[in-house]
């Protein structure tokens, strides 16, 4: 299996050799979760090779759950718009960054998004950090590596990082950092913080 054990190519029919995708970079993914207008798209765009694109997920699986509250009139049409970007990491890897809302009601999206993900950055505005409670709780539960990044608009933190940690009731082992979503270097540092954290967890 050598080093290729964690990647796969699907769709190679019985007669199709894998040559076609052999030279294709391996896509890896980081999820950027945060409340409305917290700067997710700015964060993604600050480091992306392309202007962030928008995709819409229409969640067909929702229809499989019969909800006791019975919202029968609303078919299956729950849609979430997600902005995403792409960063080539050399020739063999390409990193995709997906922004997703941070409130608990978007949980169904996170199951999908975190599958195979390196981890998540929970982006937070200290004036409205309740918007990120859901995401923090979720990533702790499913044990996806994540860091909390406080977006310092105009360099201001309205609360200290320790205050935010207490407010979120964040485990001591989860990193919390200040960032600036507009700044490529700050974004890069935040992503590196996440990858280092994931590495620590993978080792233990």
């Amino acid at each position: 299996m050598a080093s290729a054990g964690s990647e796969t190519s699907a769709g190679a029919g019985p007669m199709q050799p894998n040559a076609d995708v052999a030279s294709v970079p391996l896509p890896v993914k980081i999820v950027v979760a945060g409340g409305y207008a917290v700067g997710k798209t700015t964060f993604v765009g600050s480091i992306s090779d392309i202007d962030p694109l928008t995709t819409e997920a229409a969640l067909t699986t929702v229809s499989e759950h019969v909800d006791d509250e019975g919202d029968a009139s609303s078919k299956t049409s729950t849609t979430v718009a997600m902005d995403f970007g792409r960063v080539a990491l050399g020739d063999e890897l390409v990193l995709y960054l997906f922004g997703t809302p941070g409130q608990a009601r978007f949980r169904f999206m996170w199951d999908e998004l975190t599958r195979g993900a390196i981890g998540a950055v929970v982006l937070l505005d200290t004036r409205r950090f309740e918007d990120s409670f859901g995401a923090v709780e979720y990533f702790e539960q499913v044990s996806v590596p994540f860091v909390v990044a406080v977006n310092a608009f105009h360099g201001d933190l309205h609360h200290s990082l320790e205050e935010v940690r207490m407010g979120l009731d964040l485990s001591p082992d989860i990193p919390i950092v200040a960032t600036d979503a507009r700044d490529r270097t700050a974004t890069k540092t935040t992503l590196l913080e996440l990858v280092e954290h994931a590495l620590l967890r993978a080792d233990s």
Binding site: S3, G5, S6, E7, T8, S9, A10, G11, A12, G13, M15, Q16, N18, D20, V21, V24, P25, L26, P27, V28, K29, I47, L53, T54, T55, E56, A57, A58, L59, T60, T61, T79, M82, F84, R86, V87, L89, G90, E92, L93, V94, L95, Y96, F98, E112, L113, R115, G116, I118, K188, L191, L192, V195, E196, A198, L199, A202, D203
Partner: protein, 123 residues
Amino acid sequence: MIDESPGEPVNGKGRGRLRIPPYAVTGGRTRVDVDIPFEALVRTTQRGRENTQLVAFERRDILQLAETPIAVAELSAKLRLPIGAIRVLVGDLSVEGHVQTKAMTTKADTALLERVRDGLRRL
């Protein structure tokens, strides 16, 4: 090649946000290969290139866009179709051998995380 069923409503290339409902695009099916991750890279195979003119509508768009590797999410954004619809179409094309996809299926191991870290540092 099986094209979309005749009489299906397709509003040509002038597009609003969603041209047709996803179930129409996918021929009524919604659960083929829905496990293809959003970031999976899709690439048209030799066979897909040979058959591009034999398939129609969104399927042809996908084969053309995937001449160079492109993610499922990017196909969704560029074709303005919900990602679920793209996954079904890509799933079908993949079963037919017209495209191949590449994605992580397990958690990243230490070696891969180190490659990502080193790649980020070099940015």
